[in-house]
Symmetry: D2
Subunit: 500 residues, 4 copies
């Protein structure tokens, strides 16, 4: 809940689709892409873009981008325009900065010596600044502040001399991967192929699905292939989960199927660094990472929290909706009954009200109603998924106490956030993080709770890693199949050296 309010956000979600079999396809690729975007909408609500391609020689690319939710950004005429695609990629974007202009929206399409490519990207290049200088020193002008434009220019540029007749895109992508270690999950269309790429540290998620016929008649067929930041998008389009793209892997997806082209290794000894906050907050609970359902991991965090921070209380509840799995896990482990204490008004959006004193003091009240009769006179354990700035949980506690709660104990299903992220997550400045403020010494008093306890870093890591199945079958003695997670925002230990 706190994440949502705190302006923390991931930069984006990516999705792609290739129709299998003969082209022009009967599959409505543009519709699949749109539904895929809707299913990834929680990863970015600021803008959305789709590029479809007919896959011909030379290919025709059609682009539509728009501000706002997918439903706003893609009116019927936009979908009509995109209809002729046999393959395509799309992107949904989150941005908290003023740079949220249409021209920064992905995917990017650029014309190169060998024809057009389209690129969509989730992540943030740790060495973007140095790479920009390098590209510009070569005489290239950059028209946006986007890492994606930088990637397209690196792909267009590297190394162009020796391959004038036909481009070697795999070599170019590998070259890009040696220029920058992380973080990126990348989709690149060239003509009739999507290249799906995950950085060697696997910092951002990416997985592949198989579109199966809906009707029972053609049970064995494959209608197409999809690739997505999260598997939650597969169900909504009738696709089956196929596999993850491995850290460092370049996968080629075409009408002929899925083919692993290469796995670029990490530096000797470096473990993978999949962002642990994908589990804690960003991902939809029905997505699968590393063989396990996100919901299950969150529930396990709740159980672990009950072990680490038991409470003498009457009931357990949640700050809806993101903390609910952890709250149910806490209830199961602790044996306390699970109840609902807050009712969410789902229509609270941006109402254009000038805040005055009265309204500022009411704050969160317009978003939640207290289900008074459920907890009046009781001691409540309230589970939240995180506390970032501390200014959202405070009015909730006040609301519950005014409505009659005897005690309110806050249990947080993740450790305190203390450090910035340079790999694609928008985190408030160090100064704004409650865990770095003097008030944190008496956090319970500060937010008005009877007690506050957080999950430990070790507890979080073990809750995440205990469920990871042995999923990595391509090269079993490769470091890429070790489990490993980036906890930099909690510990300050970054997976690569930062050279700002």
């Amino acid at each position: 809940m706190e994440f949502e309010e705190s302006g923390i956000g991931e930069e984006c979600g990516v999705f792609g689709c290739v129709a299998a079999g003969e082209w022009p396809t009967q599959l409505e690729v543009a519709q699949i892409l749109t539904l895929g975007l809707v299913a990834l909408q929680h990863r970015g609500q600021e803008s959305a873009g789709i590029v479809t391609c007919n896959g011909a020689s030379p290919p025709t690319y059609i682009t539509h981008k728009g501000m706002g939710l997918v439903s706003t950004a893609f009116p019927p005429e936009a979908l009509q325009k995109l209809r002729s695609g046999n393959l395509g990629i799309c992107h949904t974007r989150y941005s908290t900065t003023g740079l949220s202009e249409l021209q920064n929206c992905q995917p990017f399409v650029v014309d190169t010596l060998h024809g057009k490519i389209a690129v969509a990207h989730n992540g943030e290049l740790v060495n973007a600044h140095a790479l920009r200088k390098k590209v510009m020193r070569h005489g290239v002008g950059l028209s946006t502040t986007s890492d994606t434009e930088l990637i397209t220019q690196l792909l267009a540029f590297t190394p162009p001399m020796e391959e004038l007749d036909a481009p070697d895109w795999v070599a170019r992508i590998k070259n890009l991967m040696t220029e920058t270690p992380t973080s990126y999950s990348l989709l690149v269309i060239f003509k009739d192929v999507i290249y799906a790429v995950r950085d060697p540290y696997g910092n951002r998620p990416l997985c592949i699905g198989r579109l199966v016929p809906i009707s029972k008649l053609h049970k064995g067929d494959t209608e197409g292939w999809v690739v997505s930041s999260e598997s939650c998008s597969f169900q909504s389009i009738g696709a089956r989960y196929y596999r993850e793209v491995l850290p460092g892997e370049i996968v080629q997806i075409s009408k002929h199927g899925v083919k692993s082209l290469s796995v670029v290794p990490r530096p000797e000894g470096d473990p993978p660094a999949f962002c642990i906050f994908e589990y804690v907050y960003f991902a939809r609970p029905d997505s699968i990472f590393e063989g396990q359902m996100v919901y299950t991991v969150r529930q396990r965090c709740g159980r672990q929290l009950a072990l680490e921070a038991p409470t003498d209380a009457d009931v357990v509840s949640t700050v809806p909706e993101s903390a609910t799995p952890a709250a149910l896990g806490y209830a199961q482990q602790s044996g306390l009954p699970y109840i609902e204490v807050l009712c969410k008004n789902r229509y609270v959006g941006r109402t254009f009200i000038q805040p005055n004193t009265r309204l500022r003091q009411l704050g969160v009240a317009k978003k939640f109603g207290a289900l008074t009769d459920n907890f009046a006179g009781k001691r409540v354990v309230l589970i939240d998924d995180s506390i970032v700035r501390g200014n959202t949980i405070s009015p909730i506690i006040k609301l519950l106490k005014e409505a009659g709660a005897a005690e309110v104990h806050i249990r947080v299903a993740s450790p305190p956030i203390r450090f910035p992220c340079y790999m694609g997550i928008n985190i408030p400045t160090k100064e704004e993080l409650i865990a770095n403020k003097p008030e944190f010494q008496n956090i319970a008093g500060y937010i008005g709770a009877d007690s506050v306890q957080y999950l430990s870093v070790e507890g979080l890591v073990s809750a995440v890693q205990e469920g990871i199945a042995s999923m990595h079958k391509i090269s079993s003695n490769n470091s890429s199949n070790r489990a490993g997670h980036c906890t930099a925002c909690l510990t300050g230990k970054y997976p690569v050296e930062l050279d700002w």
Copy 2:
């Protein structure tokens, strides 16, 4: 859940506010009204309107209406325009017909011989057709199909002759109440007063709240009075629940306070007829009717359902979010563990996708993700709040079975709907209701469930009425303080004779 999908809907929500104390007030009446509307948004998302009034002699009324959600309908300049109000009323509206034009939106303001009045209305006049004829026979033209315009003309007209100097609005409102027995909860502004009126059968809800100072300094003060279809709106504006408007009661709300002017009785022997579906579906769970929280009633329905329809199963779950209280009640009573099986994509709105075969077959899948690991191999009891047409629950069952549920048993926390409503609820035609179709004989087979059972009418009524406290203190030997609920859509027994 089925309600939401089925196009069933209540016609509207009403809200009003009067600033207490000296005018011009410091209270931002327009902001209070807007927040009140947002809190009632679940009662109507099609259009919204606010009228504010300065309460002077002659009064100035300012109106703004707009299509869509409150956040869309009220841009900053609209709120600015409305700022000068010392009192005001507002309205949010649901409409499934083509007549959803701005000119049908409430509140209505009309100029009468004695000055302007503003009217907002929730309900539907059972004898609207006859009343229209009567008004037009008098030589009045009606420019909309709205009952609210009809009410304003009846108030303007009746009986004008004998009171040329000063209007007797209470007499006029009483006269209106003798012309039409139900259903209406009505707010009328005349100059510096809001008249809050509930029909003699109390078919639609209406309650009063007291705006208290947010800061602790002025603890004893009253900053204003509000009146609302539901008490859930009070919390979001810092108001305390005061009391319900009684069936048949006319209450005057002014800066001097709240005053009961009259209680128009029902015909001898008729019980009240508060719409039972306010409890089952329409109201927000944190609202209070007849002294009890709606959430508690729904939970009690779940318990009762567990008694009436026990199941040999492993887990209990809900179709989020409306059926959750009933599911928790069922779990508590049955002793089965409560889990979550579906994850809702809250961003699914109206995407402009032409439905083709594939997408039609996928149907609900874009709205829900299955939390597979929670229920794979298990026998699931799935609680829904209603089954109206039967075409929404069917794909959910399919989704769960494909994701590995061993069995899916549907338990519905309300009885089958079989009859039309003439009192303000939009219900599909008799032919469209699944309970009136031949398929209903084998409903489980039709929707693909392993079993289906509904709550009985008696079970619903007892779950509702057992919690009703003795709330009616104005005249204790009056029939208006008996409990009584309209169950016409379930039983065909209408509270008044229908004369269409």
Copy 3:
């Protein structure tokens, strides 16, 4: 030119169409109406509305209204919605007040005891205030400030008692005409008929056209009938001018043709009072009133002005575009060469620029460019159609002088406006009119001209009346065929007594 800038404006234009022959018609009535509106757009740019009717029993009316120009107010889906009409009326509206809301837009449709009627109106009822009181005293509420709603209620109301089975609309319209003498040109649809009505003083224009087949094959046929504020609309839809509606006349237009039902006389001795400013400014130059083309009248005003106010100068020019006919007339009469001195930037609309000192001083310059080489060193006679406030012509004179004009003499092709209009024309307050200010004594000095002269009232009246042919053939010894024009804004002599 000054009119345009000064905020003077007529309230509206009305237009109607009935398809001839069998219904459903092949004629695209909604398209004809839209084109008719576009041709009357100069009479009002604030909002537009169309009502079409299928003419069946009972009739179905379809309404669309929108703010702004016809092209904005009528998107394709609106036209689609209106397509089923066999007849229809429409309206375009000008408003300078804050009351420019959609609900004040015409046409109005009301349901009466005898079914629905639709009404569109150009004009302003001189006794509107008293009529509103009368209607409200009868117990009718009025929901707008519009005269048109008042007219619909008067038609619905008057006299309803004696004709319960079938309405006598002619009697009702006559009754309306006895209640209010002027000013109105009115279109009323009832079922399959349009009643076209002009007030007894003929203050506002109204004329009838015949839709002829475009293809040569059906030369004798009539495809339909149209009725319009101005005949300029006929050409754009392929209609031929048929005749004017006479002052006081009620004409019935149906698929069977045009039929004069009645001519309501003026009080004995009162001449007609057609608004003389229709000739001077409002009407499009290709429209025909009283048998003469407006352009010709304006040219005659220019000739008359040359006789009344000759100038010792080198060239004659115009403030484009409205003063051009008068300038050409002045040139012809005076023998001076006609040249162009100003080039109009037709793209100057509402640019959202905060006026600062620089821009205020530049003023009109962004609207006109000086054609310097045409007049440098020359003495220019500049013809304008009117001077209202005097603040528009002043920067034009400055512009010309700075660009090198030796002298600038202003000749105005109409007399000074000194009095308010109560019959539908929006005129600045008496205090704002330059002719009522002390500066008027030295108007040339005030606006920076070398001399200023106006056309005399007598000159204007004779320029208008000398061309009026004997058009009135229906009843030749009736006073309605005398020429007579309202010059109240110039002389203060109003055609009827004012009783505010």
Copy 4:
């Protein structure tokens, strides 16, 4: 007139402004730019863009672009956003292709090794195709089809090696000019300077103005400098015409004033090639090119036409508004009286009407009304500025004949267009041009005129060149001060070799 209808259009207009004196300036640069754009709106109505820059080190650039007219594209918040500029450039664009997306809109801003530059461009690079290949061969991806992006990349790229510390923009611009001979008028911002560049052939116009104080107090001061495609924009912002940018000249405009940096010569023997259609059609009549007012040239074309193609007729008239100067010239030379025959409905825009047979046949009628009484029974010479496809003049002739013209003789004030333009003018395909069709042999019969005659190429060239003053003072024995005009679309003789 025909141009307007025929979809012929120039690609754009450019405008720039630098505040003189101390920065931050009091001058509202963003307002000046907006007004400049409005004055150039006739050169492109499809989209508009403004970039302002604070001129600091490093500079901050603020960009706003929007579709449609300036008034639509620049709402108040956009202007607010741009306010901090001390200098800026802007662009208005015309596009007939589907590529009219926001991302193709100018100005373009790119980040280079030496910081950001902003570029606006009017024209079309004759060797764009080869240049794109060259840039891409260097490894640069191009994200639009726009020549402007190509120019920015050429400027970013060329030659980057030797000047790593400080960029030599003049060398880079010169290098660009050697890469491509024509056509471009270019504005480039780098930090605190605008470089104004015109191609060596001077194909597109560009001139400089000086912003003078409006108030008389500071008469000697310069408030700023402006640069514009046309001088018509100067008047509307209070600027004085200063001089043209010469063919091949690079001018630096800064707060310190205007400085000529270089004049890049044409190949020996090549005359300048200023587009002759700027005189004939594109430019606003009050603009000045080569020392003469456009209006005067058009009038001279009309006189020449009267000499070349005299007519035995009664009156001369114009197709308003663009042909009016030529018509007045024809009337003066021929001695025939000048009258108006057509009244233009200035509100005819895009009405969303599905064309059916009736409306197609009516065609132009909705745009013009016939001023019948002015020409009934007379022989009319109608002057038009061009005939491109021949389908616009035809219905006008029909309109006049049906309204009673005895004869209609068409005289065209320019020669027939027969060839495509590769230098920035959008001309229909060769096949669509009426002059290349068999029907052209009997053009009078084809369009329904009594006779048709065109101005000769020689007549046009002499009408243009006879008024050119000796303007070129920088280097008087340089070929850049010879007069010379591109007549390629009339003669097929292109100023440079085409190498597609």
